[in-house]
């Protein structure tokens, strides 16, 4: 084997290693689905609470049930498909998956805690609103970690936007407008970043 052959083989290996390391993030479609769902749900919550939409308060249960059902089914359908894409098991994509799974687990446990508090310990329903702040802060953290790992710099903007939204929500945490702010912020902090992610994925795979 000549030196040139060795160098050619090493170049081949290096190209493949780089392709793997720079595999695009594949979670954009799931992010887009959750972003749209959350934006609609939070806006509906605001509309029902403020009676802009003349529906009984009990309808909020159906709104959130639909959110969880559609999101759950959507993730179950899309998840395995995304796992089959090239580079889906790259380090960045695994970090993205783990970080959002941890985030979802955190939100589910906090939601259960608030629910149990309200049902059995006469807790104040307003504590539920705090979840919106925690969600945006957690989302900012998740985006930040994925941005660091994937070197997708634009994700830092999504991370910063999420932190700013969380801080904007603090003074209005006990007001109905909190949900409108959350609904609008979802467009900028989830929907748009997810669209960028999808565009980058399509560009890299073209």
């Amino acid at each position: 084997m000549t030196n040139d052959q060795i160098l050619d083989d090493l170049n081949f290996a290096s190209t493949l290693a780089r392709e793997g390391a720079s595999a695009p993030l594949v979670g954009g479609k799931i992010g887009l689905m959750w972003g749209c769902l959350l934006s609609i749900t939070l806006t509906l919550q605001w509309a029902i609470l403020s009676q802009t939409l003349a529906l009984p308060l009990q309808s909020l249960f159906y709104v959130w049930f639909a959110f969880a059902a559609v999101g759950g089914i959507g993730s179950a359908v899309m998840g395995p498909r995304l796992d089959k894409l090239d580079g889906a098991q790259s380090i960045s994509n695994r970090v993205e998956k783990y970080v959002w799974t941890t985030f979802s687990t955190m939100m589910a446990i906090l939601f259960a805690g608030v629910l149990l508090d309200v049902l059995f310990l006469s807790g104040d329903i307003i504590h539920y609103n705090l979840l919106v702040i925690v969600a945006f802060a957690g989302q900012g953290f998740a985006y930040g970690v994925v941005a660091m790992m994937s070197k997708a710099r634009w994700l830092f903007a999504a991370s910063l936007g999420s932190f700013i939204t969380a801080s904007i929500c603090i003074p209005v945490y006990d007001e109905t407008v909190l949900f409108l702010i959350g609904g609008v912020a979802c467009v900028f902090t989830i929907v748009i970043p997810s669209l960028i992610s999808i565009k980058n994925e399509q560009h890299d795979n073209a």
Partner: protein, 101 residues
């Protein structure tokens, strides 16, 4: 007699040092597990060829093939093992020494 400090070519890991196996290990070092079709697309080789080289790497304990199903379709996922990752790093260090000698 002066001592020859040149690294010996015998240090190169023969299991890894083959164009296709090198490519497989390089890709798996950043994407693991990778599916069989994904490895075919990335290395631009044939089913049979990839299968042969994966078997060689698996025999050395460098990769692990996981046969299963994705829905109703059979699916093979290829994982790099801890031993494989160590061998890969050692291989790269050896090549660096040889090429710098």
């Amino acid at each position: 007699m002066p001592k020859d400090n040149t690294p010996s070519i015998s240090l190169i890991d023969d299991v890894i040092h083959g164009r296709l196996r090198l490519g497989i290990m390089a890709y798996l070092s950043s994407v693991s597990p990778a599916s069989f079709p994904e490895l075919i697309r990335k290395t631009e080789t044939t089913n049979g060829n990839l299968s042969t080289h994966l078997t060689k790497l698996e025999s050395a304990g460098y990769v692990r093939q996981e046969k299963g199903y994705s829905g109703k379709r059979p699916q093979t996922l290829v994982h790099i093992t801890e031993e494989g990752r160590t061998a890969w790093i050692t291989y790269l260090n050896t090549m660096k020494l040889l090429l710098n000698a």
